[in-house]
């Protein structure tokens, strides 16, 4: 997909991979709307992209909030036009330090599922119908190796990401014939605030900078028509 002039909606766009992807996709010609809860940080990212001569708008909102879903999708489409690319980069670990399942409150698991699974489902449900009628669109779910491996203490996050991966496959299976492409990407370990919260002891020099991963995801989106619909891609960092 050529991103020139396309409407792009990215959740989790105020920092980390989401912010890096917003810059990357805007630079590729996309008209980008970014979503996050923290309004001032989000505005700074959008302003930075605009200052570089590209198009970006801040759409503050919480993807876990059912009432915010139509506001997010509607405001984004009003600002950047029909959404052709939807990237679910917002996610939460739940309470940190990470804890064993036996020590996890049910409410905390529910909250993680709301942000990492139900929220992306809602937004895709609102946006993908129009993509399917237009016959084109790309939906990217940001995944994690925790969706596949069973690391102790990562239970809530892992379960949400495993379910999101499967949601990605089912979306693809159901809309296979419509021209809408669904992808799940495992970006590998990146040097982000979220990674530091989960693993404060990690050596940052071993972690990939998010902008390099964002550039790779942008290439994946551009070439999504050649990738099996519903695929799960492990990007990692191959420096």
């Amino acid at each position: 997909m050529d991103l020139e002039g396309r409407g792009v909606l990215i959740t989790g766009g105020s920092k980390g991979l989401g912010a890096a992807l917003a810059e990357e996709l805007a630079r590729a010609g996309g008209r980008v709307a970014i979503v996050a809860r923290g309004e001032s940080e989000l505005r700074r990212v959008a302003a930075r992209i605009r200052a570089a001569g590209h198009e970006a708008y801040a759409v503050p909102g919480d993807v876990a909030d059912k009432r915010a879903a139509h506001a997010i999708a509607g405001a984004a489409a009003a600002l950047v036009g029909p959404i052709d690319v939807l990237v679910h980069a917002a996610s939460t670990l739940g309470p940190v330090p990470l804890r064993l399942l036996l020590d996890t409150e049910c409410e905390d698991l529910e909250q993680v599922l709301q942000t990492n699974l139900v929220g992306p489902f809602r937004l895709t449900k609102i946006v993908a119908g129009s993509m399917a009628l237009r016959g084109s669109g790309v939906v990217v779910h940001v995944s994690s190796d925790a969706a596949v491996a069973a690391y102790p203490r990562w239970g809530a996050y892992s379960a949400s990401k495993a379910a999101q991966d499967h949601l990605n496959r089912i979306w693809a299976a159901e809309l296979m014939t419509t021209g809408v492409h669904f992808l799940s990407v495992d970006p590998g370990e990146m040097d982000t605030e979220m990674h530091a919260a989960a693993m404060p002891e990690a050596d940052r020099r071993t972690l990939a900078p998010p902008d390099r991963i964002a550039a790779r995801i942008a290439r994946v989106i551009a070439g999504s028509g050649r990738i099996e619909n519903g695929a799960r891609l492990v990007l990692g960092d191959d420096r």
């Binding site: 708008y57 009003a78 600002l79 119908g129 129009s130 009628l133």
Partner: protein
């Protein structure tokens, strides 16, 4: 006829009355029967406008309570709106208190945001152009934070944003849901596509269906903005070349298709603009062969439009039949297919 007061659980089971023009016959069915009625090579054209949160409670220049119902965003970023006095949707529009008289330059307030009156229509002092005094990036956030769906007194309760969306909405251009498409579940749309029916879109800024102000209601529908994609123009041309039929989903899709063609000598081309075309008895459609629509009361502007697609006698019989058979009206109601 009886209005549907709330969205129903099973859209595919909702009633569908086929007004078969060639046979002059009426056939009862369900929305789920559409794949048996449409043919491979037909084009179904849907209005993909999402529904805006167009009802805003606020205060007039004198501090008195008002409701502004946004009709549409104008090309310069202002909004056309109809003002009401105190009260809300629970009061029938024709019984609503009038709004305070406003003049150009007055300020209305909606929560912590103000809007300046830029123009007052000669048609009615309640029809105004408003400019919200907020940067464009924040405007839609403000609208979604303060606005609610427009609704009418027959509704059983307060509607939420998700109650008033078609299953394929995109840009929030519609003041009221383009409701003919509401029962088209994706299960049905994918089945139609499998059978060779082409699915196409227009985006049309559907306005208000009623204001309760006689002068204003007589002027409806106002000019409306729309966008006709090249893919739809192409699909329509191909269908007509090969004997397929163009079926509009809703009167707003008809207005976009016929309005666009009228502005280009009868040909359909990719186009974004406005149309003030009003269809009614005697109008010969240049593009649209059939219409899927809600069940409309005799006398409404929607009903007048149907006269362009079926003889008065067949429509009259369909109305009597619908009444007897318990067809429900309005945006959550049953459907007619004129084909």
């Amino acid at each position: 006829m009886i209005p549907a007061r709330w969205p129903r659980e099973e859209p595919l089971a909702e009633k569908l009355l086929h007004l078969d023009r060639a046979a002059g016959a009426l056939r009862d069915g369900r929305i789920a029967d559409l794949p048996q009625i449409l043919r491979s090579g037909d084009v179904l054209v849907m209005n993909d406008a999402a529904t805006m949160p167009a009802s805003l409670a606020g205060r007039g220049p004198d501090g008195s309570p008002i409701e502004a119902r946004l009709v549409a965003e104008l090309l310069d970023g202002a909004f056309r709106a109809v003002l009401f006095g105190s009260g809300d949707w629970r009061t029938p529009t024709e019984n609503r208190a009038p709004p305070p008289l406003v003049a150009r330059g007055d300020r209305l307030s909606f929560g912590d945001v103000s809007a300046r009156v830029e123009n007052v229509s000669p048609v009615s002092a309640r029809l105004v152009d408003l400019r919200f005094e907020v940067e464009r990036e924040r405007l839609w956030l403000v609208l979604y934070a303060h606005g609610r769906p427009i609704q009418y007194s027959y509704a059983a309760g307060q509607l939420e944003s998700w109650h008033v969306q078609v299953p394929y909405g995109s840009r929030p251009w519609a003041a009221e849901m383009p409701s003919a498409g509401r029962p088209l579940r994706w299960e049905l749309l994918l089945e139609l596509r499998r059978r060779g029916v082409h699915l196409a879109t227009v985006t049309h800024a559907a306005g208000l269906s009623s204001t309760g102000d006689p002068a204003l209601d007589a002027a409806l529908p106002l000019a409306e903005r729309f966008s006709m994609p090249a893919s739809t123009a192409g699909a329509v041309a191909r269908a007509h070349d090969r004997g397929g039929r163009v079926i509009a989903v809703g009167t707003t899709a008809v207005r976009a298709l016929e309005g666009a063609a009228r502005q280009h000598g009868g040909d359909l081309v990719a186009f974004t603009g406005e149309t003030d075309l009003v269809l009614g008895p005697g109008y010969r459609p240049a593009i649209v062969d059939g219409l899927l629509t809600g069940v409309h009361e005799t006398g409404s502007s929607h009903y007048a439009l149907l006269r362009a697609f079926a003889p008065a006698e067949l429509l009259a019989r369909a109305t009597v039949h619908s009444e007897r058979a318990g067809y429900l009206t309005h945006e959550f109601g049953d459907s007619w297919l004129l084909l």
